[in-house]
Amino acid sequence: MDLILEGISKAFSLLISLDAELFAVVLLTLQISGSATLISLFLGMSAGTAVALNAFPGKRLVVSIINTGMGLPPVVVGLFVAIMLWRSGPLGFLGILYTPGAMVIAQSIIATPIIAGITLAAMQNLPDKLRLQILSLGATRAQMVWLLMKEARLPLLAAVMAGFGGVVSEIGASIMVGGNIKGYTRVLTTATVMETGRGNFDVAIALGLVLLALAFIINYFLTSVQQTGRR
C-alpha cells in the first residue's frame, strides 16, 4: 500500500517538475502511436469500406480474415517484423530495426485490422435503402461513400479509439522492434517494464499513471467529438 501511495506522489512530483526525460518519453509515445493510428486509419477504413460496400466471391473468407486480424497477438507481429527487418532479413537493407519507424510499422500492422473490422461492421450495419436513396439522388460513388461514412461516424470514431488504445498500451512488439533505446525508442510501456526490472517501482507506477492519463485525455477528446451533435 505504501508503494502505491509512493508511486502516486512520485507521479505528481515528476509531472509538476515537468521532468524533461518523462516529457520526451510521453512525446515519443504520442508520435509513434499517433502516426501508427493515422496510417492504420487510412488503410483500415479504406479496406473496411471497400469490403463492406462491394459484393465479390470469397467475401466471407476476407471478412473472417479481417475479424481474426482484430485479435492479432502483438508479440507475433513483433517477431515477424523483427525478422523481416534484421540485417540478414529480406528488408535488412533499409536498416530501420530498432528505430521509431520500425515501431510505427509494427503498431500499424496491429491496429489496421482492428480499424478495418469495426469499419466493416459499421458500414454493413447501415440500412441498404440509405445507399440506394443516396445514389438515386444523383450522388457519385465517392459522394456516396463520404455520406455513408458520415452516417457511421459514431462507430468509426470508436474504431479510432480502439486502434489508438491497442497500440499505445502495447509492449511486446514495441520492445522487440524498437529495443527500448533511451531517448530514441523508449516509450511509456517499455520504460515501465524496465523500471519494474530495476526495482524502481515508484517510477514504474508513475509512468503507468501517466499512460493511463494520456489514454484518458485522448479518448475524452475523441468522445466529445463523437458525441457532439448527438443530443
Partner: protein
C-alpha cells in the same frame, strides 16, 4: 462543431509533421550493442553510453537481453559489439569464428539467496555446490531463470559440478524471466535462487530474501566485451565496435566502473578488470 473540426484537423497535421521527424532519422554512424539486462538495470550503461557517443560521434543502440540472446544476435551479425557474462558460451562463440576479439572488462559476483528462516539450512556453506546439494536433498523450492542468460548458464554449471540433474524435479521451477522478476517470484514463493549481486541489491528492500551463500570463487561473474567478426558479416560496424571496446577498457572508464554504485549501495556493483595489453 466547426471549432472541434478545426482542432482535430490541426492535431492531425501536427502529428503528421511530428512523425516525419522520426521516420527520417539518419542511420549513419550507428552501433548496436547487445548486452545483458544486468548492465542496463544497474544503470551503469546510462552513465557510460552518453560519454562514448559524444567521444566517438556514434549513436549507440543498446539492446538489453540475456547473454544467450545477445550472443544469438552476434551469431547472425545483428549486433556489432556484445557486453556479456557467459564465459563458456563466449568461448564457443569465439571458436566458431563469430567474434573477432574478446576482452575482459569487469567482474562482480553471484550469490545464493533464499528466505530468511532458511528451511534447508544452507547459510554459511563454504561452497556453492555443497549448498545446492543440500537444497536438492531437502527438496527446497529453487527458482531458475531458465532463459539462457549468463546467470542461468552459471546456475546450470553449478548443478553439473554437483552432479545433480534438477530438471523435472518438482522443487525446481523455471520462470523464463529476467533477474528482477525471478527474484520477486522466489520471494513470493519462499524459494531459493541464484542472483547477481547488483540486481539483488537494487531490489533488496522489496524482497523477503537474504544472502545465504557468497564469496565462493565459483560464484565469480566475469563480463567480457566481444567484437562481432566483420569478416563474416560485412554489415557489422567494425570500427565502432573496436572503439567501444577500447573505450570501456580505457583507464578513465575503468575508474568510473569501479566507483559506480558506491554512493547508492555503499559498495561498487562492478570491479574493473581490464586485461593489461
Amino acid at each position: 462543431m466547426s471549432a472541434i473540426k478545426r482542432t482535430v484537423f490541426c492535431a492531425v497535421i501536427m502529428l503528421m509533421v511530428a512523425s516525419l521527424g522520426i521516420v527520417g532519422c539518419g542511420k549513419k554512424g550507428e552501433l548496436i550493442l547487445a548486452t545483458t539486462t544486468s548492465t542496463q538495470d544497474s544503470g551503469l550503461l546510462d552513465v557510460l553510453i552518453p560519454d562514448f557517443e559524444k567521444k566517438a560521434g556514434l549513436k549507440v543502440k543498446t539492446i538489453a537481453v540475456g547473454s544467450g540472446q545477445a550472443m544469438a544476435m552476434g551469431e547472425r551479425g545483428e549486433a556489432d559489439v556484445l557486453l556479456v557474462h557467459s564465459p563458456d558460451a563466449e568461448k564457443k562463440f569465439m571458436d566458431a569464428g563469430f567474434g573477432s576479439a574478446r576482452r575482459k572488462v569487469m567482474y562482480n559476483d553471484f550469490i545464493i539467496v533464499g528466505p530468511a528462516d532458511d528451511p534447508a539450512k544452507i547459510k554459511g556453506e563454504k561452497t556453492s555446490v555443497d549448498a545446492l546439494k543440500k537444497l536438492a536433498a531437502a527438496g527446497a523450492i529453487f527458482m531458475s531463470r531458465g532463459d539462457k542468460s549468463g546467470t542461468h548458464a552459471k546456475e546450470l554449471k553449478l548443478w553439473k559440478d554437483g552432479k545433480i540433474d534438477p530438471e523435472k524435479q518438482k522443487w525446481y521451477q523455471s520462470t523464463g524471466l529476467g533477474m528482477g522478476e525471478t527474484l520477486k517470484v522466489a520471494s513470493e514463493k519462499k524459494g531459493y535462487t541464484l542472483a547477481d549481486r547488483g540486481t539483488y541489491l537494487a531490489l533488496k528492500k522489496n524482497l523477503g530474501l537474504d544472502i545465504l551463500v557468497e564469496g565462493d570463487e565459483a560464484l565469480k561473474n566475469v563480463y567480457h566485451v566481444v567484437e562481432v567478426n566483420a569478416q563474416k558479416f560485412p554489415k557489422v560496424n567494425k570500427d565502432g565496435a573496436k572503439a567501444f571496446a577500447d573505450f570501456i577498457l580505457s583507464k578513465e572508464v575503468q575508474a568510473v566502473i569501479g566507483k559506480f554504485g558506491v554512493e547508492k549501495f555503499g559498495s561498487p556493483l562492478f570491479f574493473p578488470d581490464a586485461e593489461a595489453k
